[in-house]
Assembly symmetry: C2
Homo-oligomer: 239 residues x 2
């Protein structure tokens, strides 16, 4: 009875689950390591890496510990070794096809950005409802009509869908992407998308970012505003 518990519940060697917050930071470490490798560095300490990534050294070590021991005590981490380790942990360096729906200003900026290709993300499908945009060439790929969504997803075997359409149509676009087989979605439209289980959605909300900054600003200089409604303005200070 107890013996079976001790043997192995469901886990194997080192497949401990990695918190999502840690995964996000691992991606940052990987980028910093790429820069270090370009500078010809062979080893790096947790302190230096942490400074470059803007995090706490102890937290960085704990993050890396999810991958098992990958440093040498007294020396630090091998840049190339750690880079390889992180790359594999984050999903390998294989190419990941992505589709972008809605090639307005934001969508076009994303599709044209060279920084994604170096990480394995290739924008192989561009879709828009505007006939004037269809046929345009953005980042080496031609914009196709939204009616082709299903076939484009199928042909390219796209793993990630990026939604940069107006908010009103974002949910319907999302539904079509999911139905076509996309299971990872990056949403820039200011709406909360509803998806079936098994589909991951990440939302980037730039208005919220600005609003949080505005809040922190107001909180910082609490009483510099003699304007409207001063009654309830008693918030605590700092940070």
């Amino acid at each position: 009875m107890f013996g079976s518990l001790w043997s192995l519940p469901v886990s194997e060697s080192r497949p401990r689950i990695i918190p999502e917050a840690t995964v996000a930071r691992l991606a940052v470490y990987l980028r910093v390591l790429a820069g270090l490798a370009g500078d010809g560095r062979s080893h790096v300490s947790s302190g230096e890496l942490a400074t470059a990534a803007g995090v706490n050294p102890a937290g960085l070590r704990k993050d890396l510990s999810y991958l098992g021991p990958c440093g040498v005590r007294g020396v630090g981490y091998s840049v190339s070794g750690l880079r390889e380790r992180l790359t594999t942990a984050l999903g390998g360096e294989r190419s990941r096809p992505c589709v972008v729906v809605g090639l307005g200003r934001l969508g076009a900026a994303l599709a044209d950005y060279a920084g994604f290709a170096s990480r394995g993300f290739e924008f192989v499908g561009l879709l828009d409802a505007d006939p004037q945009r269809v046929g345009d060439c953005v980042g080496g790929c031609t914009v196709r009509p939204i009616a082709d969504l299903e076939s484009v997803v199928a042909d390219t075997e796209a793993a990630i869908g990026v939604i940069t359409t107006p908010a009103e149509v974002a949910q319907s676009v999302c539904d079509r992407l999911v139905a076509a087989g996309v299971r990872s979605i990056l949403n820039f439209a200011p709406v909360a998308l509803t998806v079936p289980p098994g589909v991951d959605v990440r939302k980037v909300d730039l208005s919220v970012e600005l609003q949080v900054l505005a809040f922190l600003d107001q909180q910082r200089d609490g009483g510099r505003q003699p304007v409207t409604v001063p009654v309830h303005a008693g918030l605590g200070a700092q940070r």
Copy 2:
């Protein structure tokens, strides 16, 4: 840290600090409320608001409770009343001047986006180092040379600085913004900016978002489950 900060006699019992995660959600609620007001709704329940915002109803009520009681039991929240309350809490509806440094694809998309103005964020200063871009008109504002940074910040009394330059120059741009008086910075360049105390930085890292999606995708494929979609409908996992 300094708990004694709110020990002074405040008649209103609202000295509790608002967690940053809550602030971000408050901004989302505010946007949803704007849509509801446009539909002519006068009242809304926490459940409905939570569904539209993609969060848990109990969590929503807890978020709102940081502002004090602002709903009516048995009825719900007044759309206009809550909207006003949230607007005040998030920094008022006064215009917040912003400057954008680096008007490439991404910077131009931001400066030209109409959705920010409705929240009080006005892009009153656009700066770029490329002589070819200087003089361009983006979103009703003229691009000026980067040498004018200090004078533009001073003239517009800009509260927020948005950095969309290449990563190599982001830190120097940041330093100049801070020296010019900007205390809130939204950074899109893939570097960790160093700023003096009293300055807030928010970073938007799109590569990391994609990388996290790739990781979740790989993790999911460990079981290699097809697109099943069981009858367990309801709310999908947001975030």
